[in-house]
């Protein structure tokens, strides 16, 4: 096995990043776990390990995790003659734990950071809920990647249906990923510059692509932005997977925003995103369904009589 987990939480392809951010630790962890209570002796735990062929036992005080006994702890107890003594005196008490709501990417970085083979998992009330091993992570990843790759393959087939002379670019935008926000707009701008599109049109396309990209990151559960460029027009299509907009008419009003305080503190949520996009677009469409998602399409023509420079 390689030293590091074979998936990077920074440089992996988008599809992998999506999966490890979407999956929660609770989706991968094992919940049927052999545990010992606070009165168990080291001998009891040694027997539990032997009978169940396991190498680590969490020790619980009612539902709370108070320690772990590993094979090493047992060997140590045997060596020092502590095997009949309460486990509570000889278990490992300073534990690195994961929370069940964390994305799987956390677990992957933990496996890289620490040499442990498994981590106990607690919930937000600090109640013990399961164990997570690297094997559990790999197994759930393989299942998800199977699904993901199938979807990607279907998409490739669809893309072949595109028109000749059309350039298509496709980006995944993750929820609250302000680290990468703006990257797809940057790519679009580069592409348009290479195509010698007029700077006024590039400016408008930049506004639309940036605003739509940021909107997905701020307001949705994540989504995709697609750029279709041909000799006539730029199409920007932003789709997200929810939660959907209750009143679509209001978001086209300047100043209407549902962004929370910390989003606003980053300079977003001015309620100008959709109005800005609409203003720079020659054609603009927004549709949304609660629970399903929102779809925005902005079309900008490369040449327009009244706007030529």
């Amino acid at each position: 096995m390689p030293d590091r987990f074979p998936i990077s939480t920074e440089k992996s392809p988008n599809a992998i990043m999506e999966v490890i951010l979407r999956l929660k630790i609770k989706d991968a962890m094992v919940t049927k776990v052999i545990t010992a209570d606070r009165n168990a002796t080291m001998r009891d735990i040694q027997n539990l390990m032997k009978d169940n062929k396991i190498s680590g036992v969490p020790v619980l005080d009612s539902c709370r995790l108070i320690g772990m006994v590993s094979v090493n702890d047992i060997i140590h107890a045997l060596d020092k003659g502590h095997i009949e003594e309460p486990a509570i005196d000889h278990m490992t008490k300073s534990l690195v734990v994961l929370e069940d709501d964390m994305p799987l990417s956390f677990a992957i970085s933990y496996f890289d950071k620490y040499s442990y083979r498994r981590f106990p998992v607690i919930d937000k009330n600090r109640k013990f809920t399961g164990m997570l091993s690297s094997r559990d992570v790999l197994s759930v990843m393989l299942q998800e990647l199977n699904k993901e790759i199938k979807e990607l393959e279907e998409k490739i087939v669809n893309e072949r249906d595109e028109l000749p002379n059309q350039i298509a670019r496709d980006f995944f935008i993750k929820k609250f990923d302000f680290e990468n926000a703006g990257k797809s707009s940057f790519e679009l701008k580069k592409l348009l510059k290479e195509k010698n599109v007029s700077s006024a049109v590039i400016r408008r396309a930049s506004v639309a692509s940036y605003e739509l990209e940021i909107n997905i990151a701020i307001h949705s559960e994540g989504g995709r932005i697609v750029y279709l460029v041909d000799d006539e027009k730029i199409e920007i299509i932003a789709n997200d997977t929810g939660p959907g907009i209750e009143n679509v008419d209001r978001v086209v009003e300047e100043g209407y925003s549902t962004a929370n305080e910390w989003i606003r503190s980053l300079g977003f949520g001015a309620g100008m995103g959709i109005p800005n996009t609409k203003r720079v677009s020659d054609e603009f469409e927004i549709t949304s369904e609660i629970g399903k998602g929102t779809s925005v399409k902005s079309v900008i023509y490369l040449e327009k009589k009244n706007e030529s420079e």
């Binding site: 302000f178 703006g182 930049s206 980053l266 800005n276």
Partner: protein, 110 residues
């Protein structure tokens, strides 16, 4: 006016280790990124208190040569790293946005 000339005239701290000493053609003062995106003219200096990476996403879209952080606010480390990659200068002053806007205006338009 070039970035370095403006910084030295107004005594601004230059936080980035490298940048293009490009021409500043105009200026825009705002802390709302959509407002900047929608209304600022290209090749402007952005006067703001938003000392984080997202400011640079907007700055690079609009070919801003420089961002001026007011009120001596901290600029996030990843903001400076990104700025250096994009060769955009990040400047800092103790002045607020109002005072900064006046001073910068006098230099580049006066």
């Amino acid at each position: 006016m070039k970035v370095n000339e403006l910084a030295s005239k107004l005594g601004y701290e230059i936080l980035t280790r490298e940048h293009n000493d490009a021409d500043i053609k105009d200026g825009y003062t705002s802390d709302l990124l959509s407002d900047v995106m929608g209304n600022a003219s290209e090749e402007s200096i952005l006067i703001t208190i938003q000392g984080h990476k997202n400011t640079l996403a907007v700055a690079s879209q609009l070919d801003f040569p420089a961002v001026l952080i007011c009120n001596n606010r901290t600029a996030a480390l990843d903001m400076l790293e990104t700025a250096e990659k994009l060769k955009i200068a990040v400047l800092r002053t103790k002045d607020n946005q109002f005072v900064s806007s006046y001073k910068v205006y006098c230099e580049i338009k006066g």
